[in-house]
């Protein structure tokens, strides 16, 4: 049955995944067995009782108490067993250990932001230690999203106006993918993030170093990193292609005309305001869909992104 499972399931990379897979494989295997049995009986019956003439005499018997009791009772036992195993694992999936490491998650169209205890944030990259339970406390800034890591077999909806949570314990260092699984608009299918699992020591090290730009990195290059990690690239191209929002290419110094007919020259102040208060001035021809980055990007981060945009002539 494990072989059967490997056709269907992705690698199991969390402590709970093994148990969920075992139940998945049990249900798949049992179902397959019963399906094959039913179909074998059907094929046998259509061969054996194929109509020979229009005067065939058929059985009038439409009851068999013993048979009916058997085929009613067996499924009851099976489903109660399956229910019970699903129930106990579900309780485990829903109950984070008290010593779990907490990370805040913000979902918004169309990116994920992760905030750590020391105040650092990492957009679209969730860094966690291996071998230690991690609890995600999640909220949405706009519509429903759902946080799903297939490799860990965990998923929970992320809801505006309410905190939800999920937890997992990654088995070993490596990478996995996060999907958004609640439909949230145009770029729903691009709302992905990466889980990066470190050893405990590496994770502590990463936490210390993740607080902003490394001292030897040029501002614009850091801005470029933020551009691809913070979800800017989902809607803004850097080669002039028109996506959900205007392209950055050649934007700086140009004049934008807004939906209300006014216009402004794209300078540092305009860009900063557009990041923090995006729907105040919406360029004509685009929908007012950008979420605010208030509380997600620091002032230094915004400076770096502006620097990056300036270089895109």
């Amino acid at each position: 049955m494990d072989k059967l499972g490997s056709i269907f399931l992705p690698p199991a990379k969390s402590t709970i995944a093994g148990e969920v897979d075992a139940l998945f494989n049990f249900i798949t295997g049992t179902s397959l067995l019963i399906l094959v049995a039913i179909m074998a009986v059907v094929i046998y019956l259509i061969i054996k009782y194929k109509r020979k003439s229009d005067d065939d005499v058929t059985s009038l018997n439409d009851h068999n108490t013993a048979l009916e009791i058997v085929w009613s009772i067996i499924p009851v036992f099976l489903v109660v067993y399956v229910f019970y195993r699903g129930f106990t694992d579900y309780i485990k999936i829903g109950s984070a250990p008290d010593d779990a490491y907490e990370i805040q998650v913000i979902g918004q169209k169309w990116n994920w932001t992760f905030k750590y205890a020391n105040g650092n944030t990492s957009p679209n990259e969730l860094h966690v230690p291996a071998g230690r339970p991690v609890k995600l406390v999640m909220q949405s800034r706009d519509v429903l999203h759902s946080f799903f890591i297939p490799d860990y077999r965990v998923k929970h909806d992320v809801i505006p106006g309410r905190y939800t949570s999920l937890w997992f314990e990654a088995l070993e260092p490596g990478e996995s993918t996060v999907f958004c699984t609640e439909y949230c608009g145009t770029s729903h299918s691009d709302m992905m993030a990466k889980v990066i699992v470190h050893t405990g020591e590496e994770f502590d090290q990463w936490l210390k170093e993740s607080g902003g730009r490394p001292s030897d990195m040029p501002l614009a290059e850091y801005g470029k990193q933020l551009y691809s990690k913070s979800g800017c690239q989902t809607c803004h191209s850097i080669d002039g292609t028109k996506l959900v929002g205007p392209s950055y290419k050649g934007a700086f110094g140009s004049t934008h005309t807004f939906a209300d007919g006014t216009s402004a020259v794209v300078d540092e102040n305009y860009l900063k305001n557009s990041i923090l208060n995006p729907n105040a001035q919406v360029v004509a021809g685009y929908a007012p869909v950008m979420p605010t980055y208030q509380g997600i990007l620091s002032n230094d981060d915004i400076d770096a992104i502006i620097e990056f945009i300036k270089e895109l002539k």
Binding site: T58, F87, Y183
Partner: protein, 579 residues
């Protein structure tokens, strides 16, 4: 029996009526012209108009599905942009659910056959019936209108707060669905009254064909559940237009509340869609096994039980939505117990074939296809009802595959089985069975290629409603897309031979091509206006194939003399009330 006798159990003077296979003037010839069709109160014509509309919408919904599958040929853009893709899957879902599956068997086949099978001249309220049809068209018009005015991209579930904030024309789409709901309610009401009040003498509840039991159970759900959908959609419209905070958190509402409302209707709606399919399958397996249906009362009453229990399982759509753990656990348990009677029905149908006389004609192939596909749909439903496993599978392609196995592999295949069973009766023509069997085979292969692949995709983590996807899923997606072409080919062949049968070269069908015993096989082909030229009486059960056909042809003596005097006067139905 003599030609005229007194029935011991009915106490009426009865007489055997023999009529030629084909009437001089059938219902379609009785009134002619477009206007006669559009203003008819004849349930058969209304049924056929529903059938035509449903077939049209199925064609549109199917084309949209082919577009979706084609777009998924590559992981990034193939030929549609993201917004167009999102609009297409929304329309595909909404059209297939609300315009095709919900009305399919009850409105088309139920309308045509329910009155005939109870021996009545029409449904209890024929004018209301015509009104239902026009309400359906109005609702359909509003739904399609939204395509023109800027297309809805919320998915057919219209989840808030997205649906409350998006700029697309959600209001016209939801208003369309709201209007459609009234059509459902009125049709359900009509059917319940017809079954209660218009059965001919001798047609006791225990002699009711199982198709009618299933329509009866469906009608009960339609009346009870549809108002909740209407209320929900009305609240959604109020929120969008009047800014009253109900579901949208920025206005002080709760988005999870919407899901409770929505699934409180939409889960029972799954049974609205599937129960009539069970009824069709019972008829087909009975007739083509020439045998009493095994466990008649179990099948009849479990439909009623499923109809009522179906109201208590809506939360299994919400295991990861943020509802309480206790709710999830209770919903999971009840879900399993609703599944059991459904499973037992499968055993009953298989047992019906034991010691039968099995004839592998086209409708029977559809019934066998149903057994296979619906069983897979059922088992994967158990998988999704399992709490821990559903956390992984929820909102992935596994769910997409599951509900296509239930809705298309189950319900739509049953509907096709029903169309092939009753086509000769409805149209008076036989279709080409060789082509029909070929088409069924292609549909079976194409369906499994398309959707079994999606179980694998989903379990591997492919989320639903994804325009782009990660590269590793591409080969499975392409296989699935090729399957959709095979499906499309199968349906094209069906369209061809069904239309061909209606043409000049079509073969004339006898009145009882399969040897059925319920009343629709006793009347002429196609039936006359008001269905019978006399008032039939029922002596034997609908699956008593061991009794000679002559004993099914009795009617009340003298009831043929005044039929034409009271043309379409409903008071005339009084004498057939089963007191």
């Amino acid at each position: 029996m003599d030609n005229t006798t007194t029935s011991p159990n009915i106490g009426l003077k009865i007489k055997r009526f023999t009529s030629p296979d084909h009437p001089e003037v059938n219902f379609a010839q009785a009134e002619k012209g477009i206007k006669a069709w559009l203003t008819t109160i004849d349930h058969k014509k209304i049924g056929l108009m529903y059938l035509g509309s449903i077939a049209f919408f199925f064609f549109i919904g199917g084309l949209l599905a082919l577009l979706l599958r084609l777009e998924l040929w590559t992981p990034a853009k193939t030929f549609l942009d993201a917004d167009a893709y999102n609009q297409v899957f929304t329309l595909h879902g909404a059209i297939m659910i609300f315009l095709v599956l919900v009305p399919s068997v009850p409105a088309a086949l139920g309308n045509f056959f329910l009155p005939i099978m109870v021996g009545a001249k029409d449904v209890a309220f024929p004018r209301l019936n015509l009104l239902s049809f026009y309400i359906y068209l109005t609702g359909a018009f509003f739904s399609l209108y939204s395509i023109v005015t800027g297309a809805v991209d919320t998915g057919w579930t219209f989840y808030t707060p997205y649906s409350a904030q998006t700029s697309a024309s959600v209001v016209s789409m939801t208003f369309g669905v709201f209007v459609l709901g009234f059509s459902s309610i009125l049709t359900g009401l009509n059917f319940i009254v017809t079954i209660h009040k218009l059965r001919v003498p001798g047609l006791t509840w225990g002699k009711l064909p199982l198709f009618l039991w299933s329509i009866y159970a469906t009608s009960v759900i339609q009346i009870l559940a549809t108002p909740v959908l209407a209320i929900t959609l009305l609240l959604l419209i109020m929120e969008r237009t009047l800014k009253i905070g109900i579901f949208d958190p920025t206005l002080g509402g709760d988005p999870v509340l919407y899901q409770h409302f929505f699934w409180f209707y939409s889960h029972p709606a799954v049974y609205i869609m599937i129960l009539p399919g069970f009824g069709v399958i019972s008829e087909i397996i009975g007739i083509f096994s020439k045998r009493r249906v095994f466990g008649y009362w179990f099948i009849a009453l479990s439909s009623m039980a499923i109809a009522l229990m179906g109201f208590l399982v809506w939360g299994h759509h919400m295991f990861v939505s943020g509802q309480s753990t206790l709710s999830s656990v209770v919903f999971s348990l009840i879900t399993f117990f609703v599944g059991i009677p459904t499973g037992i029905k499968i055993f009953n149908w298989v047992a019906t074939m034991y010691k039968g006389s099995i004839s592998l004609r086209t409708p029977m192939w559809y019934a066998l296809m149903f057994l296979f596909l619906f069983t897979i749909g059922g088992f994967t439903g158990v998988m999704l009802g399992t709490l821990s496993v559903d956390v992984h599978l929820h909102d992935t392609y596994y769910v997409v595959a599951h509900f296509h196995y239930v809705m298309m592999g189950g319900m739509l295949v049953a509907f096709l089985g029903g169309i092939h069973l009753w086509w000769p009766k409805m149209t008076g023509r036989m279709y080409n069975e060789k082509l029909a069997n070929l088409s069924a085979l292609l549909i079976f292969i194409g369906f499994n290629m398309t959707f079994f692949t999606q179980f694998i995709l989903g379990a591997k983590g492919m989320p639903r409603r994804y325009y782009n996807y990660i590269d590793q899923f591409q080969s499975l997606h392409q296989f699935s897309t090729v399957g959709s072409w095979v499906l499309g080919l199968g349906f094209s062949i069906m369209l061809f031979y069904l239309l061909h049968s209606l043409g000049k070269k079509g073969v004339i069908a006898p009145k009882n091509p399969w040897g059925g015993r319920s009343l629709e096989w006793i009347t002429q082909t196609p039936p006359v206006m008001e269905n019978f030229e006399y008032t039939p009486v029922v002596i034997h059960g609908p699956y008593d194939f061991h009794k000679p056909i002559a004993e099914f042809e009795y009617g009340i003596e003298g009831s043929d003399s005044h039929v034409h005097d009271h043309h379409s006067d409903q008071h005339d139905n009084k004498h057939s009330v089963n007191a």
